[in-house]
Amino acid sequence: MALVEIENLSVEFPTQGGIMRAVDGVSLRLEEGEVLGVVGESGSGKSVTMLALMGLIPFPGRVRADKLSFNGRDLLTISDKDRRKLTGKDVAMIFQEPTTSLNPSFTVGFQLTETLRLHEGMDRKAAERRAVELLGQVGIPSPESRLSAYPHQLSGGMNQRVMIAMAIACNPKLLIADEPTTALDVTIQAQILDLLMTLQKERRMGLVMITHNMGVVADTAKRVMVMYAGQIMEERSADDLFASPQHPYTAALLAALPERSEGGRLATIPGVVPGLYDRPKGCLFSPRCAYATEHSRHVRPDLRPWAGGHIRCHYPLGDPNRNAEIQHDHPVGTEAAS
């Protein structure tokens, strides 16, 4: 039994201009102890997918799915009360901005023991002892004295450690890390990633690493899911994905990495993620795709099995017939036309 099973998940937000589809037909499986990287630009729906799993989609957002289950429990029909028993205990989440994600009016100790007292039924004394242990485990020096500190008295890195301590307090089966290092200094980023990976191995918990940084994925994930405009574009093992990306979007993301730049200017992807009004009829990436054709601009590709993973593309890069197919379909993209 998989830890997480999501089938055909969509999340919509009604806006004044119409319905904004933030997540569009996402399916994924996560086994126990597995590390999944979810990559995509801002607005690609990667955070919203995970917020939907946590049940944290704010009003008036609508969540629809054929299946949404965690550890065998159906999250579509679960009562609010039962759901709250899961969230924060078996599924925990840490966020991008550690300093604003902690409540400024309460001490670190209060916020940390709150979870323990709620889910584990500990008394104040026991919870405080456990909180000190946890702060020690996440590498906070002199944890006893930190209990009475307020978030504004700690650095961003320390606050993220507190967030992690809070998240792992009840030994979750799944930890969702939503861009956990984006707001931190580069030196601290590596420390936090190391800490997360160490904790993941020690506790054998599932870990979903949401990021827009391919480097972070390369360091952490075994399997990668690339998202674009609310849809999964490509999904396969990290090693394969980095060695031979199949989707033009993945390839473009990788080419934009400074480490992969072959001298000269850093590669970029022209254009922006489509919004509410300019959502293409065909492939969502086609307006920015170098290999777009008349066909791909009008017919949206389905997610299909490909090369040990899944892909949503008419012309995967590894397909031997792709050049012929592109020529046949009237190329319009910059690369294909030349």
Partner: protein, 337 residues
């Protein structure tokens, strides 16, 4: 902390000078003087008028009068009422408990209704309840106090005969002032069972009238502060911890939303005393507000100058206390020196 208090206290000095200047010169701009008003419609013989003006010192150059007044104030002497000849401070202290009693009841009324209304409106934003609370509070905020007071009297006192029209207590009862607060005195120091009920009944309408504006301000402020806080990242964190909705709103959100609300409550204290002047006049409430209004009509210069100065000191002190309380609920301020 000490430095904070000292800075705040040093700000009192210019405010203090401003109050003395304003009250001293503004009341003298009004035509007429205390002697003419005392004489009333019969008028007064010009020679006798001149004599009395000299006796009270009103014939001296105005700046000299101001100098004498300031010199006396600095020695703690607020001088005597021209009309009653009683020391201004004594009169103020005798009347002030009535005003405090009314003001405290009004602010409690405003808090007890305004806070929950604001919170609920924020939690159920754009609901009928939200629109209702905001509409009513806007109406309450815009309502002229004197008109609102008269309407309530007409409705509850005259039409339904539910509440007394004016005063602090029924004339049947005489309560020896111990604390000066009638509710306390009548409850603990009076044999008469009905005295407390009577005092309470007399408080209802003035409390509502005086509390309406602060109620509206507090409700609107609480709502907007709550709305802002509910969108913060740490509320999402609290949800991700699996906390109950009640705990998230009443503890995690409210604690942060209260910070701006407390500031507003402090500012409302000044508004409350302004409102008290009107409310006390409408309900013949024997407090400082009514006393000041009468002082204006009688051109009782010392009472007006002394009374406004004392009220000013009270307002400044309360605001200082509110700022100190602000540090208690906002740790980010507490730790900065």
């Amino acid at each position: 902390m000490l430095r904070f208090i000292l800075t705040r206290v040093s700000l009192i000095i210019p405010t203090f000078i401003g109050i003395t200047l304003l009250t001293f010169f503004l009341i003298r701009l009004v035509p007429g003087d205390p002697i003419e008003t005392m004489a009333g419609e019969r008028g007064i013989d010009p020679a006798r008028h001149e004599l009395l003006r000299k006796e009270y010192g009103f014939d001296r150059p105005i700046l000299v009068q101001y100098g004498i007044y300031i010199a006396r104030v600095l020695q703690g002497d607020l001088s005597k009422s021209v009309i009653t000849q009683a020391p201004v401070l004594d009169e103020f202290l005798a009347l002030f408990p009535a005003t405090i009693e009314l003001a405290v009841c009004a602010i409690l009324f405003a808090l007890v209704i305004g806070l929950p209304a604001g919170i609920l409106a924020a939690v159920r934003r754009n609901s009928i309840f939200d629109h209702g609370v905001m509409g009513i509070s806007l109406a309450g905020y815009s309502m002229p106090i004197f008109w609102w007071g008269l309407i309530l009297i007409l409705l509850f006192s005259v039409q339904f005969d539910l509440t007394p029209v004016s005063g602090r207590i029924d004339v049947l009862y005489y309560i020896e002032p111990v604390t000066g607060f009638l509710l306390i005195d009548s409850l603990f120091f009076s044999e008469d069972e009905g005295a407390f009920r009577s005092a309470l009944a007399h408080l209802i309408l003035p409390t509502i009238v005086l509390g309406t504006v602060p109620l509206a301000v507090i409700a609107r402020m609480t709502r907007s502060a709550m709305l802002e806080v509910l969108g913060e990242d740490y509320i999402r964190t609290a949800k991700a911890k699996g906390l109950s909705r009640f705990r998230i709103i009443a503890l995690h959100a409210l604690r942060n939303a209260l910070i701006p609300v407390v500031t507003v409550i402090g500012l409302q204290v000044g508004v409350l005393f302004t409102g008290a002047i009107l409310t006390e006049t409408i309900f013949s409430w024997p407090g400082v507000g009514k006393w000041l209004i009468e002082a204006i009509f009688r051109r009782d210069y010392p009472v007006l100058q002394g009374g406004v100065l004392l009220l000013g000191i009270v307002v400044m002190t309360v605001n200082l206390l509110v700022d100190l309380a602000y540090g208690l609920i906002n740790p980010r301020i507490r730790h900065t020196r």
